[in-house]
């Protein structure tokens, strides 16, 4: 078997005195698509934020390609990682946020070229070609010189996806990327994610409330309940034949809502 791309080993996380994650064990293979579902407050977002190094685990190990993310080896011992180590490992990871977080002072094109040029050292011309190609793919090839504030929420989120994809990460994280959008623009964003997923090589972890979408896109669905993985498996098994009562209630609430 190939080495998993991402490994969570007994990861705990507390905010102040509240433990939000109580021992997460999770593996993601290269190219695998995973949907994280669960009630709000169950810790889904925290799981991917720790992988993006935005939140530091209280205990446990997270590995990317076998390398510990928050720790580094010094003389055979694991010690806390410094910024340099974080940067090295973090390069394989990309993230799309709920509130897009585009850079408001840069044009759409610049949003997508700034990091490749300055972080990865890609030649400006090459970076621009790649960015234009990607922006065309998400349907915004005509907005290159616009500023984020001039775009709709759905358009901004598509730019944010393009911005992350041009960095060519091995895994992309999606943090409730449609929940801040107007209902009519949700579809266009999901469509873009679906297209990228089809291309295959990139692994994806999606935190989402869109059950149908989760089913379509994911190889595996992981159900989180109060800080623990309560159930996981193939989308059809999870959604059609849930084992636990909790998952059943959770899914029912969703069906009745939509």
């Amino acid at each position: 078997m190939t080495q998993p791309l991402i490994q969570y080993e007994d990861v705990h996380k507390s905010f102040d005195d509240v433990e939000v994650l109580k021992g997460i064990n999770l593996e993601v293979d290269p190219g695998e698509k995973i949907s994280l579902i669960g009630p709000s407050g169950s810790g889904k977002t925290t799981i991917i934020r720790m992988l993006m190094t935005l939140e530091k685990p209280t205990s446990g190990l997270i590995k990317v390609d076998g390398t510990p993310l928050w720790h580094k080896e010094v003389n055979g011992k694991l010690v806390e990682a410094d910024e340099k180590h974080l940067r090295k490992v973090r390069g394989d990871i990309g993230m799309v946020f709920q509130h897009f977080n585009l850079f408001p002072h840069m044009t759409i094109l610049k949003n997508c070229t700034s990091a490749p040029i300055n972080v990865q050292g890609v030649d400006k011309k090459v970076a621009e070609e790649r960015a234009v190609e990607m922006l065309e793919k998400v349907g915004l090839g005509n907005k290159l010189d616009a500023y984020p504030a001039q775009l709709s929420g759905g358009q901004q989120q598509r730019v944010a996806i393009a911005r992350s994809v041009v960095m060519r990460p091995k895994v992309m994280l999606f943090d409730e990327v449609t929940s801040a959008l107007d209902p009519e623009t949700v579809g266009e964003v999901l469509e873009v994610i679906r297209d990228i997923a089809k291309e295959g090589e990139m692994a994806m972890i999606l935190v989402t409330h869109e059950m149908e979408f989760a089913r379509d896109i994911a190889d595996r669905i992981v159900f989180l309940e109060s800080g623990k993985i309560a159930e996981e498996g193939k989308p059809l098994d999870i959604l059609e034949n849930p084992n636990s009562e909790r998952l059943k209630t959770f899914l029912q609430r969703f069906r009745s809502n939509f």
């Binding site: 905010f15 190094t53 935005l54 939140e55 530091k56 910024e83 974080l86």
Partner: protein
């Protein structure tokens, strides 16, 4: 120049006495600024365009020219103006000069307070058939005043620190006393350091008090931020 404690013992009481003049002057200036500021705010609400422009011009003029020169103007030039000109004593010059200069800032604070009251409040008051007077006393002012109290406090401190300027017209505040002592005894280090100390000792705690007040006001008038939204992640 060496720090000499015997000088400190000699000059400290003098400066301490002068502190009351400085504080008294601060209060007099600030009261003037509050009253004149209210007049400006009222005048600016008159909707006749040319008049409004004129008031804006006057305010901008007073605000962007040095208070020092304004003091000189009142002291040296005012008495010579025909009809209205009278000789003013230093204390009056200081109160008028700094009071009017800062009234232009205070009037901005009043305006921001009034504009900070949501329009819906006025509409609701109208819907309840309040009279104009009642609208102001019962609805607008009770909401406009609390948020501006910390801002006014800040300006009180700023004004306190401007009082030494009145040395040029001879008001016997702390700095003036220190200067007189310095010139007579050729000792500058201790008197000026003591004056600086007095200013710091009074304005720093006051500014902490105002910060505390600001936080308290914010909690009362602004929705609480969510728990996750605090600070920047340290990565």
């Amino acid at each position: 120049m060496r720090w000499d404690w015997s000088t400190v013992i000699e000059v400290f009481p003098l400066i301490f006495d002068a502190m009351w003049t400085t504080l008294g002057l601060t209060i007099a200036c600030f009261s003037t600024a509050m009253i004149v500021g209210a007049i400006w705010t009222a005048l600016k609400r008159i909707k006749f365009k040319p008049f409004n422009w004129f008031i804006s011009f006057v305010l901008e003029f007073i605000r962007s020219t040095p208070p020092l020169v304004q003091l000189y103007f009142l002291f040296f030039a005012w008495p010579m103006i025909p009809y209205i000109g009278v000789t003013l004593d230093p204390f009056t010059v200081a109160v008028m000069g700094l009071g009017v200069h800062f009234s232009t800032y205070i009037s901005e604070i009043y305006r921001s307070g009034i504009e900070g009251v949501p329009k819906g409040q006025l509409e609701a008051a109208t819907a309840l058939n309040f009279s104009t007077r009642q609208k102001w006393t019962k609805i607008i002012l009770p909401q406009a005043i609390p948020p501006i109290i910390p801002m006014l406090g800040n300006y009180l401190i700023i004004m306190f620190k401007e009082i030494p300027l009145t040395i040029v017209v001879g008001v016997a505040g702390m700095l003036t006393v220190a200067e007189v002592y310095g010139v007579n005894n050729f000792e500058y280090l201790e008197p000026y350091t003591i004056v600086a100390f007095f200013f710091l000792a009074m304005s720093y705690p006051s500014s902490l008090l105002i910060q505390w007040l600001e936080k308290k006001m914010n909690r009362r008038f602004v929705n609480k931020p969510d728990k996750k939204g605090k600070g920047v992640t340290a990565t």
